[in-house]
């Protein structure tokens, strides 16, 4: 298992729910928990992944996500069981959709 932590600056998210959870820690899948975090212009990401040595890819996928969406003022926790970058991107969008009450 590898633990990774990243921080990105982003415009503030507007939560509709207190927290949002999506996905399951199953093979090739991951679960994402989004909840309010400090400060309002920062997105903190904490990852536990079963696949070692992919830190730079995680960073790129999440940086791209943070650039596309207003995700400031959140803390995102991820438990991963070997999801591909595409699955990670989709789950992040899904989790943020649930958190902000937007697209399901």
């Amino acid at each position: 298992m590898e633990k990774l932590e990243f921080q990105f600056k982003a415009a503030s998210a507007t939560p509709a729910a207190g927290t949002a959870l999506c996905g399951v820690v199953g093979s090739g899948n991951l679960e994402i928990l989004i909840r309010p975090g400090e400060p309002a212009d920062t997105c903190q990401v904490h990852i536990r992944t079963s696949a070692r040595g992919f830190g730079r890819i995680w960073e790129a996928v999440i940086a791209e996500f943070a650039a596309r969406h207003p995700v400031g003022g959140t803390r995102i926790d991820i438990n991963d069981m070997g999801a591909t970058p595409a699955v990670v991107s989709l789950r992040l969008s899904q989790a943020l959709g649930d958190y902000t009450g937007g697209a399901q």
Partner: protein, 302 residues
């Protein structure tokens, strides 16, 4: 497909996650989770082994309404480590069952989807399973029925197979499976001549929902759909009288099981068992729909 026929969305129980099953099973917006993911903790045992845990440790507990009745619910997530029971997972289930003994809901619905003990957690997992068994019996003794709903990809095996049969009644779909040792375990221990775990049709003929319904281990068959599990559970609960476990009842059950063991001894396949039960064309059973099978069972000699 006929384009003019309206498309109906089926919510497969087998394919759904535990959370999706709960949302679809209970009355809309009635589910309230206890120890939600943000307050629960992943397994410390898995962390020591360098394996990522799940926030809810693979089980969701809470309260909701089924057809207007207040119920408590337990839902195991089969996709996380095969729904296996670890220490936190087990503690959440036991806590929920103790709450049921205190609050006396109309029922506890136990959505089982598990291969049994989480071997990574060794003794902690074994103890958790035995605590769940005791808690199920205590809950029933307190007059609260515990219904097991089995239709997930992991079925109910090992310790969870025992827990499932300790419940007041079992509802299964054809896709669900219920047994003690899993197919791979039997093949590993006794050899492929004894049991070929790759033969999926055979696996379902000896552990699947239809077999368990014919042998009486499961009280009712549901379609592989959340709405149908919901309907069948509500139907079963209407007018349910939870019998307080007694020594006499246990002895009678033991006698029934001993007779059954002698009666079916030496039979190698579900097909043989169904023939022994009086099914005229056992080969047709796997092809039958739910309602036809229910009718077939009604016509069998008791």
């Amino acid at each position: 497909m006929n384009a003019r026929q309206p498309f109906t969305l089926r919510r497969s129980w087998f394919e759904a996650t535990a959370r999706a099953r709960l949302q679809a099973l209970l009355d809309p917006a009635s589910f309230r989770e206890f120890l939600p993911p943000e307050t629960s903790e992943p397994s410390p045992h898995l962390a020591v082994l360098d394996i990522p845990g799940a926030f809810d440790d693979g089980v969701i507990i809470g309260a909701g309404r089924l057809d207007g009745r207040e119920v408590l619910v337990i839902a195991q997530e089969g996709q996380f480590m095969g729904g296996a029971v670890g220490e936190i997972h087990g503690a959440k289930i036991v806590g929920l069952l103790k709450r049921a003994q205190r609050d006396k809901p109309a029922a506890v619905l136990f959505l089982a989807d598990s291969g049994g003990v989480r071997l990574h957690e060794a003794n902690a997992g074994l103890i958790a399973i035995s605590e769940i068994m005791r808690a199920v019996l205590d809950t029933r003794a307190a007059g609260v029925p515990v219904l097991a709903l089995v239709g997930g990809s992991c079925g109910a095996f090992g310790g969870m197979g025992i827990v499932t049969r300790l419940c007041s009644a079992v509802i299964m779909s054809e896709e669900g499976r219920l047994a003690l040792s899993g197919p791979e375990v039997i093949e590993t221990v006794a050899g492929v001549e004894e049991f070929d775990s790759k033969d999926r049709a055979l696996v379902w003929r000896v552990t699947g929902g239809k077999h368990r319904y014919l042998t009486g281990d499961c009280a009712a068959l549901a379609e592989d759909e959340a709405a149908d599990f919901s309907r069948v559970a509500a139907q079963l609960l209407a007018g349910w009288q939870e019998d307080v476990p007694s020594l006499a009842a246990l002895r009678a059950e033991q006698a029934r099981l001993s007779t059954r063991r002698t009666r079916f001894a030496g039979l190698r396949d579900g097909l043989d068992v169904w023939a022994a039960l009086g099914v005229a064309e056992p080969g047709q059973v796997p092809l039958m729909d739910r309602d036809s099978l229910v009718d077939l069972k009604k016509g069998l000699p008791q």
